[in-house]
């Protein structure tokens, strides 16, 4: 297990290093942040002054080296736009994004698993067919358009829910969260539905497929033969075995969900790190984009590692390949 974790961490370090070079060089080669930061009326002297203060007058490799030495110490440079340390800006907004992604995931699982289970167990009924048709729709609907339509219906037409922002937050363990206030819930529900819809469709399909497989297993037949209550067979024997693939897939999809939150956050003006990324890309705010990428890559690696370990804990048949 330890060998496995160490190997994975080394792989991750390599990926992060390669990413940092690619992103740094790529973002360096395009666009001139000075053109955006300095007003056109500024004199040549002013421009040089600003370029020097931001370190933009040095050669690329030197800028990268400076960046790298600082990055190892957790310093990704100051944002060109905000004038604050970019890592701080990202971390400040991370709880909002994680809160949104987790709420969306929980909603997708809580709604998706029972529907998928039903569709799998009673796969010939009209209800099951309707659920499957709904899941195809959930897959096909363009995510961002769903968000717009939800705003149109619930914020504009009915005026039930707010269209933007995070609402009232409460500090829990030093982190501002929305899910603990009624007002916060009103704000999070539309973005969470938007973000979680396609995941919910995925979970429905997965739960249905695994339920149909598990149903035919000997241990389920045996449990029925023992005369166990149908509730117990479904709740314990089937559900428990469905949850293994669902946990894995949900975990792995969490990373994609955090990345996808970029869009949801933009639509609902949710003050998370995804919205910050888009704003920073548009303003060529290089340090923030790089800091975002490094943070998200680390997050993805951590999630994948946790899911792999969790998988081996949930399913004792799986052995992590480490020592050979």
């Amino acid at each position: 297990m330890l060998v496995f974790i160490i190997r994975r961490l080394m792989q991750a370090a390599l990926v992060v290093a390669v990413m940092s070079v690619l992103v740094f060089v790529g973002i360096y080669l395009i666009g001139d942040p000075l053109a955006i930061l300095v007003s056109p009326e500024a004199t040549e002297l002013d421009r040089e002054e600003i370029a020097r203060s931001l370190g933009l007058d040095r050669p690329v490799w030197e800028q990268y080296f400076t960046f790298l030495t600082a990055a190892v110490q957790g310093d990704f440079g100051k944002s060109f736009v905000f004038g604050q340390p970019s890592l701080g800006l990202i971390l400040e907004r991370m709880p909002a994004t994680l809160e949104l992604a987790l709420t969306a995931t929980i909603m997708a699982v809580v709604i998706g698993v029972p529907l998928g289970l039903y569709a799998g167990l009673r796969h010939e009924t009209i209800g099951a067919r309707a659920i499957m048709a709904g899941s195809v729709l959930g897959f096909s609907l363009p995510n961002f358009w769903v968000g717009l339509m939800l705003i149109m219906l619930f914020a504009v037409q009915f005026g039930w829910l707010p269209a933007s922002g995070r609402g009232q937050t409460v500090e829990v363990l030093g982190i501002e969260l929305s899910v603990f206030t009624a007002n916060g819930w009103k704000h999070i529900i539309l973005p969470a539905i938007t973000l979680g819809l396609s995941k919910c469709a995925l979970i429905i399909r997965l739960a249905r497929a695994t339920a149909r497989e598990v149903m035919l297993m000997d241990y389920v037949k045996f449990a029925r033969a023992k005369g166990l209550d149908e509730k117990r067979v479904i709740g314990v024997h089937i559900l428990k075995n469905i949850m293994v693939p669902i946990t894995t897939v949900t975990g792995l999809e969490l990373g994609a969900l955090i990345a996808f939150a970029v869009i949801t956050e933009t639509i609902f003006s949710w003050p998370g790190m995804g919205k910050l990324l888009i704003d920073s890309i548009i303003h060529l705010d290089r340090p923030v984009v790089v800091a975002y990428l490094i943070v998200v890559v680390l997050l993805l690696v951590a999630i994948n590692l946790i899911v792999d370990i969790l998988y081996s804990v949930l399913d004792p048949r799986v052995r992590l390949g480490g020592a050979k």
Partner: protein, 305 residues
């Protein structure tokens, strides 16, 4: 969808028929898939002939009248023109704008997938055929790339490359070639050890000919399935990127950009600018997915009797 085709398996066509005939016969067994296919053909025709049937040229500024801006669907303007699906913020006919947008969306989706298929199939075949270090290297790149969410890779690429139809296509190809490479390698590894490849090798055929004329055609079925579904993915991704302002330029608006334009008016109750392009986009994607689902069942060798 397999539920629908199952009963028909007993009436499998005779073996003398050509494979293409058999595939078509099996494909039409699902009414839903046929419906999707017809819908898709309709959209393709609308995209190709869009400029000829559109009520106006939405990007010729001489045609636009700012007084026609934000007319609701079905409204007749002062100049006597009927705006069937309403007009946008500049007085553009939404139906015409959508026909032009559909053209760009489909063009970007199909081109990106075709290129990704070509590059991915080449890389996958090479990996399977060459083996060793080349194989390890290509598959390692594929693994690393697939561990990142597609949207993130595309976003960063476009942040680096800038706006433009060609750049969106590049970003989509970079995001998607890996799927094809993995599938092509898998298929090629299976095919490589078959007798016809052995026979071709004994005939002393060149390596290129062996790969392209013998191995590639037999690896195509799974790639075609992925390609179909991937066109839907590409179109959605392009729409998403354009919605964020990082995709196609304002002068060549795709469906995604039309939806984005409507976003500004949504809060004041002007729903049609976002609603109709989004509906069209959804229908296109559903149609492609219906066709792709059925193709997967028809072309999947594991489901063959």
């Amino acid at each position: 969808m397999s539920d629908v085709t199952l009963p028909a398996q007993t009436t499998a066509p005779a073996k003398t028929e050509s494979p293409i005939k058999r595939i078509i016969a099996e494909f039409v067994e699902s009414k839903l898939a046929v419906f999707g296919f017809i819908l898709l053909m309709f959209f393709a025709l609308a995209a190709i002939f869009g400029p000829y049937v559109a009520p106006q040229d939405p990007y010729d500024l001489a045609n636009l009248d700012i007084l026609d801006a934000r007319l609701p669907p079905g409204e007749v303007s002062g100049t006597g023109m009927t705006f069937l699906l309403g007009s946008d913020g500049q007085g553009r006919d939404m139906l015409s704008a959508m026909l032009y947008g559909l053209r760009i969306s489909l063009f970007v989706g199909v081109t990106a997938v075709a290129l990704a298929l070509a590059i991915g199939a080449f890389a996958g075949l090479l990996a399977a055929y060459a083996g060793g270090r080349i194989d390890t290297f290509i598959m390692r790149v594929v693994d690393i790339q697939l561990s990142f969410p597609a949207i993130l890779v595309a976003l960063i690429l476009l942040a680096v490359l800038g706006n433009g139809v060609d750049k969106v296509i590049i970003a989509l190809v970079v995001v998607q070639w890996a799927y094809f490479a993995r599938a092509a390698r898998g298929a090629a590894l299976v095919e490589r050890s078959k007798e016809y490849v052995e026979a071709a090798r004994c005939l002393g055929l060149s390596r290129a000919r062996l790969l392209l004329r013998h191995l590639l055609p037999n690896c195509m079925p799974p790639l075609i399935v992925i390609a179909t579904i991937d066109i839907a993915r590409s179109i959605t991704l392009e729409a998403t990127l354009s919605f964020l302002g990082l995709g196609v330029p304002v002068t060549e608006p795709s469906l995604g950009m039309l939806i984005a334009n409507g976003f500004d008016y949504l809060l004041s109750g002007v729903y049609w600018i976002s609603l109709f392009p989004g509906l069209l986009l959804t229908l296109v994607i559903i149609a492609i997915n219906l066709v792709g689902d059925q193709l997967r069942d028809v072309l999947n060798p594991r489901l063959k009797r």
